[in-house]
């Protein structure tokens, strides 16, 4: 594969990033900002929340093309944020997970075995030819089997444990039962953690806390809750609502989730929420779109604004309740194809599949916090 190493600037770059015609002020999406109102419990947003205007920042976001068109989809980042990785088969090369350096644009084969990489990038989980879940240490090439019976595993952030789920596959989705199990990284000391109906394990918050959705035996409603596996305790975040699009912040102190389409027709709680996992505040966000965490408490959202000429990025800081518009759709026009975007672990840029040319592009956001300092 011939990779394009092009860094464009200004309007030339902008014109490459979005389909013609170029955006004009008249076509621009509304600059009325989304707002966030802290609440002690999930509750309606205060409609009197003062509007937030876009704030000029000392750093102008920069777009740059990373790969050629049609190269690849579903990018992920290396743990140090230096490489963008994807499944690919460059010309005359084997299929595998490849990584492209964001500075040099050099492409390297990370692993010919396709699988799921651990948070630190060192362990690869894959299904071997005998349908057994296998972990491989990419530094030593040591391999070992884990007892998940061919199911995928989730690594704890501290790399001490793995977890997997066994679910029934018949009946309504809200009635299916799931058993969550965990073991150490070697697959030893495996034990059942919890059983829930209508949900399952959403992820690890840290080395000893899981985020789970569902209802335990004897419960009447499903909940989103934190489960402390060492103390067999749980902390409810929200009960009786239909949850989707859950995302855990690095460090596990905050979670994002959407409440959508409650079967009973109660719309009062539906929308986007950010909740502390440690008893802190819950925020309702007056916005809908695609959300990912930038760091331990800053959430990035691409708002769903139908037919706007450009997508844009909005940020919410759960630690302060402060929100910011990072790109306004005019000076930094871009359009993400089919929700293909990922925030770098360093938080200073995103990679996205550009809808205009089906190439991967970078959007540099600058140092974290700069936009908040400018407000």
């Amino acid at each position: 594969m011939r990779l394009t190493a092009v860094v464009l600037t200004g309007l030339v770059l902008a014109a490459c990033a979005v389909p013609p015609p170029p955006p004009t002020v008249a076509e621009a999406p509304s600059l009325e900002p989304p707002t966030a109102e802290p609440t002690a419990q999930p509750a309606a947003v205060d409609p009197t929340t003062p509007p937030l205007l876009p704030t000029p920042t000392p750093f102008a976001p920069v777009l740059s093309q990373l790969t050629e068109s049609g190269c690849c989809t579903e990018p992920i980042w290396s743990p140090d944020g230096q490489q963008v990785r994807f499944i690919d088969q460059p010309a005359d090369e084997p299929v595998g997970i490849y990584g492209i350096d964001i500075d040099t644009r050099n492409l390297e084969l990370v692993s010919q075995q396709v699988g799921v990489l651990s948070p630190d990038g060192r362990i690869l989980a894959y299904l071997n030819e005998d349908d057994e879940t296998t972990l491989r240490d990419l530094e030593t090439d040591e391999e070992w089997l884990v007892p998940s019976d061919g199911r995928g595993v989730l690594f704890s952030p501290d790399m001490q444990r793995i977890a997997w789920s066994i679910s029934t596959i018949s009946g309504g989705f809200d009635e299916r039962q799931t058993i969550v199990l965990a073991s150490d990284l070697r697959g030893e000391a495996a034990q059942e953690i919890i059983r829930v109906t209508g949900g399952g394990l959403l992820g690890w918050l840290d080395g000893s806390r899981m985020l789970i959705y569902g209802q335990e035996p004897g419960e009447a409603e499903r909940s989103l809750f934190v489960y402390h596996i060492e103390g067999d305790e749980r902390t409810n975040l929200v009960t009786g609502q239909r949850i989707r699009a859950v995302s855990i912040a690095p460090g596990g102190e905050w979670v994002f989730y959407a409440i959508a389409l409650n079967p009973d027709g109660d719309t009062s709680q539906e929308g986007f929420w950010v909740s502390s996992t440690t008893g802190g505040p819950q925020y309702r966000l007056d916005i809908v779109g695609s959300a990912q965490w930038r760091d331990e408490h800053r959430l990035l959202v691409i708002p769903l604004e139908l037919d706007a000429p450009s997508h844009r990025l909005w940020q919410f800081n759960a630690a302060t309740g402060q929100s910011s518009i990072l790109t306004d759709g005019i000076d930094t026009p871009f359009r993400v194809m089919a929700n293909n975007w990922r925030v770098a672990p360093t938080g200073d840029r995103i990679v996205f599949l550009n809808a205009a040319d089906e190439a991967l592009w970078l959007l540099e956001l600058g140092p974290i916090g700069l936009e908040e300092d400018a407000q």
């Binding site: 989809t73 579903e74 989705f173 009635e175 959407a258 389409l261 779109g289 929700n339």
Partner: protein
């Protein structure tokens, strides 16, 4: 009973009367149809829960739910509360009401559009009150959403297909419906498209998806799939 049999006969004759030639996969010019809901998407209205094509969900259920459609998801699924009004995506005439041979129960409806394509609305909660050949206009309410599991709490959604007049082929609605699909995907499915590692770039975007020929062999029975055909990957 006689009226129903007559309606089925007339409907069948109408289908047989068309030229057997398969229509082009995409219509000429701009997409002719609109989205099947009057309201904008959102957490209290509707959102896309499965795209058309070689989706991961379809791969997992390629021999069960989607076996008749070459293993692919041969429509778009819009999650919506039971009872949400569904509108016609274009002008046309009612072709069939409650046609179990096309699946997507408990109730479905087919509209033959003036451009020769057919739209199918599946998993409707109630039997639509239309007779075959009734004219409908784009934006007209033609039914309400239901749940294939008949509970309204499991997975209520609308399954929308675009077919040719023979009903043997289904096409990617992205090419036929005038909508901001990339923005709709922002609050859309949580999983993407299934990969065949022998050709890892094939069928990986909203637009790059094959047409489906009903009754033909599976297109996605991959020997080297990613993710694997096991849960949790």
């Amino acid at each position: 009973m006689i009226k129903r049999a007559a309606a089925i006969l007339v409907s069948t004759l109408a289908i047989l009367a068309v030229t057997p030639t398969v229509l082009a996969q995409t219509p000429p010019g701009d997409p002719p149809f609109r989205l099947p809901f009057a309201e904008n998407p959102g957490p209290s209205t509707w959102y896309i829960v499965q795209h058309y094509g070689s989706t991961r969900t379809a791969y997992v259920r390629r021999t069960v739910w989607y076996g008749s459609g070459q293993g692919l998801h041969f429509g778009v699924d819009f999650s919506a509360r039971c009872g949400t009004e569904v509108v016609a995506i274009g002008d046309g005439s009612i072709l069939k009401v409650d046609a179990p041979e096309h699946g997507a129960g408990p109730h479905n409806l087919l509209i033959l559009h003036d451009n020769g394509f057919v739209s199918l609305y599946g998993h409707l909660r109630d039997r639509p009150r239309f007779a075959p050949f009734t004219r409908v206009e784009q934006g007209q309410v033609i039914g309400v959403t239901g749940d294939p599991d008949l509970t309204c709490s499991s997975r209520p959604h609308l399954h929308l297909e675009i077919r040719d007049r023979s009903l043997f082929y289904a096409y990617n609605p992205v090419d036929f419906i005038d909508a901001d699909w990339d923005s709709l995907a922002l609050f859309g499915p949580s999983s993407g498209f299934q990969r065949d590692l022998s050709d890892p770039g094939r069928w990986q975007t909203l637009h790059d998806q094959p047409a489906v020929q009903f009754g033909a062999p599976l297109l996605n029975d991959f020997r080297t799939p990613w993710p694997p055909d096991r849960s949790g990957w």
